[in-house]
């Protein structure tokens, strides 16, 4: 699919630095007026003059009013020497949400579209930047990620968005059919022109789309906010569980209690939902100063989390577990806690029932038994996190949590306004209808309902966007 596309290739959420990648013809001259170069190795005045593999310190500017959005480092890659094999520009900006959002807004206004999920990787392969031996892996990634995307679209947050967009689609199809009827059967007097109705329908669609687009500001936070803290006594298996969930050894795992002395953040995807897992140091009284700092951070992580998984291993003494649980409960009363009995491969402690009963008294109802080593129960954890995510969706109004979706909704809204003014200006039903069709294509790229021939790329899941 031609055209220039962009995405943030660093994980969602707050981070020190965020990297926004742009691939395609417009990534050079098309963006010259967005950067004011402050310092660079060569003599380039604008980014399109920069040589491949060089970087510049620059101000990222909104060309519509000349205001500076952020001071960034911009790196240029010229075709075919780039990740995708096309001309590319990478912007390293400050990681705040507002900054990223503003940069994307400018890029979208420039006509650069949000990348289809996984588009960078696919483009790289098709342009010969990835080895042949990777072909099958790429195909399988497409397959598994599109089924992942399907599951995401079945979640409540997306479900609500989908149903709102479906209503918009229905309205627009009706508006289009009103136009099409009079176009296809012009000689019939029984289908009079009803531009006012069409105009009304377009307006009502815009009235739904604009707030949706704007909800991204909040939706992004919702997505970022999904934090899961792993708590429990030292050596209760937190790091092992984290490694199981992420698929690689992030945390050092030993059987010496207190190995994790600091909190570890890990952004992972569970069936397309971005989740930040915080592996906290075990909470215990300690004389080790460094470990004590870790314990304090663990407490604050739990305070900030949306969901706390409290891990209990068979070796943990019953009374210590219960006292820690009540500690968490008293300190961070609002946080939902799930009891996770780990190391079921080692054995199941008969005291579990008692612990569960005491937990219940503290309002902690859920518990499960897992073995991170043998994978038993890992799926249960994933499901627990997903159902919690869904419950977030059910309590708030419809919000857009994906930048790609927000971009597409914005494009559709703009086109509908254009269709409206085409009708007002008497430009002709053919133009209006064509612009509405184009808006429907944008919405269809989210709902998947209009399988138009230009919707070429897979709906990969959102999480691998830009990678």
């Amino acid at each position: 699919m031609p055209g220039t596309f962009c995405a943030c290739s660093t994980p969602m959420g707050q981070s020190g630095i965020a990297v926004i990648r742009i691939s395609g013809d417009m990534s050079g001259t098309g963006l010259d007026d967005c950067f004011k170069i402050i310092r660079t190795a060569g003599s380039a005045k604008v980014i399109s003059q920069m040589e491949g593999y060089t970087a510049a310190l620059a101000d990222f500017i909104d060309p519509s009013d000349g205001s500076v959005i952020d001071r960034v480092v911009v790196t240029r890659f010229t075709a075919p020497h780039s990740y995708t094999g096309e001309d590319m520009t990478e912007i390293s900006c400050h990681g705040g949400n507002a900054v990223k959002q503003e940069i994307f807004r400018v890029l979208f206004e420039k006509g650069i579209r949000p990348a289809e999920p996984g588009e960078f990787t696919k483009t790289a392969f098709v342009n010969g930047k990835l080895a042949l031996s990777e072909a099958e892996a790429v195909m399988n990634v497409i397959k598994s990620e599109s089924s992942g995307a399907l599951k995401v679209s079945n979640s409540q947050v997306f479900g609500k968005l989908n149903s709102e967009l479906s209503e918009v689609e229905e309205t627009l199809y009706k508006a289009m059919s009103l136009i099409e009827m009079i176009v296809e059967f012009p000689e019939h007097d029984d289908t009079p022109v009803n531009t006012d109705r069409v105009r009304e329908m377009i307006s009502s669609a815009i009235d739904v789309l604009i707030p949706l687009k704007e909800s991204y500001a909040q939706g992004r936070l919702l997505a970022d906010r999904l934090r899961v803290a792993l708590a429990g006594k030292p050596n209760s298996g937190k790091s092992t569980l984290l490694n199981r969930l992420t698929g690689f050894d992030r945390a050092i795992v030993t059987d010496i209690p207190g190995t994790t002395r600091d909190t570890l953040d890990q952004d992972i995807d569970i069936e397309g939902i971005p989740v930040r897992i915080t592996d906290t140091a075990g909470i215990r009284e300690t004389d080790d100063a460094i470990e004590a700092m870790g314990v304090e951070r663990a407490r604050s992580s739990i305070r900030e989390a949306d969901l706390c998984l409290f891990l209990v291993s068979p070796e943990d003494p019953e009374d210590e577990v219960i006292s820690q649980l009540s500690l968490i409960r008293s300190g961070e009363a609002d946080i939902p806690v799930v009891l996770v009995f780990t190391k079921s491969d080692v054995g199941i402690n008969p005291s579990y029932e008692k612990i569960a009963a005491s937990a219940k008294a503290l309002g902690i109802e859920k518990s499960m038994i897992i073995s991170a080593l043998s994978d038993e129960g890992i799926d249960l954890i994933r499901k627990e996190i997903l159902s919690f995510y869904d419950s977030l969706g059910s309590t708030s109004s419809t919000v857009v949590i994906s930048g790609r979706h927000a971009g597409l909704i914005g494009l559709a809204a703009d086109k509908l306004m254009e269709a409206g003014s085409a009708l007002d200006d008497g430009l002709g039903e053919d133009i209006a209808s064509s612009v509405i069709r184009s808006a429907l294509d944008d919405i269809g790229a989210i709902t998947g309902k209009t399988v138009s021939s230009e919707l070429v790329n897979t709906i990969f899941s959102d999480f691998c966007i830009g990678k």
Binding site: A135, K143, E184, D430
Partner: protein
């Protein structure tokens, strides 16, 4: 059956050898045969009845929304429908004038009898073309390829390619109430046996239904009770060749009329619904939704108490009038009552009654985008046999099937028009990729790129294609190039000519509610304003030279819609990228790991020619398309 077996049948004989045999001389067959003959191939055109060549058995008109665009496209490719229609038109109109140039649609009323006659006389003079009245009953094949056809009278014709354009004639039967006749349309003989012969060769056969309304004698009609609709004179002929030679539409045009059904009409129909073969289950074929019988309209749109009926002349001399919108399969006695319930028709005498007709067709999913059968090599089909409806849709397929049959014999690559090039491309792609469950009618809303697929630029899109194929001669092509040059020059002039503010300009702009610009403005920028037209700004355009209307209109449209056309072109670019990715014929989709099961089965069955076509097959998801793209890249590298 092969030729040898055919010749073993008693009384059979070898009657001739041809490059291409075209079966059926309706609108598809005429175009197909003409195209083959023009390519220099020895061609034979078979018809069941020589006096019904290019018959118009339903409405006596050619063109209309989307259909008018088709006619101009056929002409731009070097086809004949536009020229014959220009010659036989008795009224012409441009539909959708107020709705923008993308949907302007020319339509002409035909002198129906004359159309058939002119086409016959024209084809008789075409070099390399023999026309033969014969009833083809068998397709002859050898090892999965066509070798010829055999007639009912056992005449065997050898052919390297065969184009079947059987219209609604294969195993047809007409239905009026409970009365069923084994007949073709218009009381003509039907085709018997060919359908079974195709089925025996492994071709999937379907059955559809369509219908046609009543014809009445005008002498007993009271036109004072009807609304008169006259033709228009300021519109181009269908044929670009005629247009470029300065020919205009006929000057003495004949009016059409319209009336509304009355409460009596509704009552007659409601009372007799139990005698409708559709509702009693006699008719099982699938009919079209967009062209329902009048009883269907009353039953399905219960909130509408009246429907519009058009009364159209069938020719200059004849009194016969066609009642458009009054198609029915109710019995003949009910038809009389229905017609007489209409204002101005209370004493009408019916000359031909309405009927529904059922017929056999080929499942278009068994065809390639070149309109060749995927089952029998060298067999092409076009028109209603492929599930379409309408003269123009038939002719559009006919020219494509004819061209590709001819190119196949010549050993050349097939010509496939894509969805961004022509309505013909949309039509063929829809049929062979999505199939159809009812007779397929072309509509402008089926075209994604209709701002670009206009009736005024069909030659820009297709005349170079026709020239490459060999259907457009050099003389016409140089005229076309001259036209393009004039359009470019005028567009450039309008863009580079600036005029200052003046009282004249102020007056002109205020007349359409626009304001005077503070400083100089280009003529092109003026034209981009709403309601400002080329004619309107004549007063301030001092350097304007007299140019043909087709030049100024084209320049005006290009400027006025520049922004939208640019967006459409971008969309077309995206679309073309997938269209250009060809899928190798030997692809085994079962073996492509990443494809979903449904996609594997559908792709293996339909065998699309490129990734674009694959993406339009129902059941193939965007994820499957990404997998195909990666698969293609993998193959490309493995072959290196």
């Amino acid at each position: 059956m092969n030729i040898k077996e055919a010749l073993e049948i008693k009384d059979s004989f070898m009657a001739g050898e041809y490059d291409v045999a075209v079966v059926g001389a309706g609108h598809a067959g005429c175009e197909a045969a003409h195209a083959c003959a023009k390519l220099g191939l020895k061609t034979v055109l078979f018809t069941l009845y020589l006096d019904s060549i290019a018959n118009l058995p339903c409405n006596p008109s050619i063109g209309g929304t989307a259909k008018g665009q088709l006619v101009r496209e056929i002409d731009a490719l070097g086809g004949i429908m536009g020229k014959i229609a220009d010659e036989c038109a008795i009224q012409m109109r441009m539909l959708n004038r107020s709705k923008g140039p993308a949907v302007y649609s020319p339509r002409a009323q035909m002198d129906r009898h004359r159309y058939s006659d002119v086409m016959k006389c024209y084809l008789e003079k075409v070099e390399n073309l023999d026309i033969r009245q014969a009833h083809i009953t068998d397709l002859l094949t050898e090892d999965g390829s066509v070798t010829g056809v055999m007639t009912e009278s056992r005449a065997v014709y050898g052919a390297k390619a065969v184009v079947i354009c059987s219209g609604t004639y294969m195993e047809s039967r007409t239905i009026r109430g409970g009365v069923i006749c084994e007949s073709g349309p218009d009381g003509l003989p039907r085709s018997v046996g060919l359908s079974a012969s195709l089925e025996a060769a492994g071709i999937p056969i379907l059955r559809f239904k369509t219908g046609t309304p009543v014809r009445v004698n005008s002498s007993k009609l009271d036109f004072d009770q009807m609304t008169r609709q006259d033709g228009e004179y300021d519109i181009p002929p269908f044929s670009y060749d005629n247009e470029m030679h300065g020919k205009t539409v006929p000057e003495d045009q004949v009016p059409c009329w319209s009336v509304w059904t009355t409460p009596d009409t509704r009552e007659v129909i409601t009372e007799n619904m139990d005698r409708s073969p559709l509702y009693s289950g006699v008719i099982t074929g699938i009919g079209p939704r967009y062209c329902p019988s009048i009883e269907d309209k009353f039953m399905r749109f219960k909130d509408k108490d009246r429907h519009q009926i058009f009364v159209e002349p069938m020719g200059r001399q004849t009194n016969e009038m066609y009642l458009q919108g009054f198609s029915t399969s109710l019995p003949e006695d009910v038809q009389v009552k229905m017609v007489r319930s209409l204002p101005g028709l209370s004493e009408a005498v019916i000359q031909r009654s309405a009927y529904a007709i059922e017929y056999d067709l080929v499942d278009p999913l068994s065809l390639t985008p070149a309109l060749e059968s995927k089952v029998v090599n060298g067999l092409f089909t076009a028109g209603q046999i492929n599930g379409s409806s309408g003269y123009e849709e038939a002719a559009g397929q006919g020219i494509i099937a004819g061209i590709n049959a001819g190119l196949k014999v010549l050993g050349r690559e097939p010509v496939i028009l894509d969805r961004s090039q022509a309505y013909i491309g949309v039509l063929v792609d829809d049929l062979v990729t999505k199939g159809t469950s009812e007779p397929y009618r072309m509509m402008t809303s089926r075209a994604e790129y209709r701002l670009f697929l206009r009736q005024d630029n069909a030659d820009t899109r297709l005349t170079p294609v026709g020239h490459d194929i060999g259907l457009i001669d050099d003389e016409r092509f140089s005229l076309f190039e001259e036209k393009m040059r004039m359009i470019d020059e005028e567009t450039e002039r309008l863009k580079s000519t600036y005029i200052g503010p003046s009282d004249t300009l102020k007056e002109i702009l205020e007349s359409v509610g626009s304001v005077l610009p503070p400083s100089g403005i280009s003529l092109a920028d003026l034209l981009k304003r709403p309601k400002v037209t080329y004619e309107l700004i004549e007063g301030v355009d001092k350097d304007r030279k007299p140019l043909p209307l087709y030049v100024t209109r084209a320049a005006e449209t290009d400027i006025k819609y520049e922004g939208y056309l640019k967006l459409e072109k971008e969309k077309i670019e995206k679309f073309s990228e997938l269209e250009s990715k060809r899928l190798p014929e030997d692809t085994d989709y079962e073996k492509i790991e990443g494809l979903r099961l449904e996609a594997r089965q559908k792709l293996n069955r339909l065998r699309p020619i490129n990734v674009g076509q694959a993406s339009r097959i129902s059941g193939v998801s965007p994820a499957d398309i990404s997998v195909l793209l990666v698969y293609l890249e993998m193959r490309k590298r493995e072959e290196k």
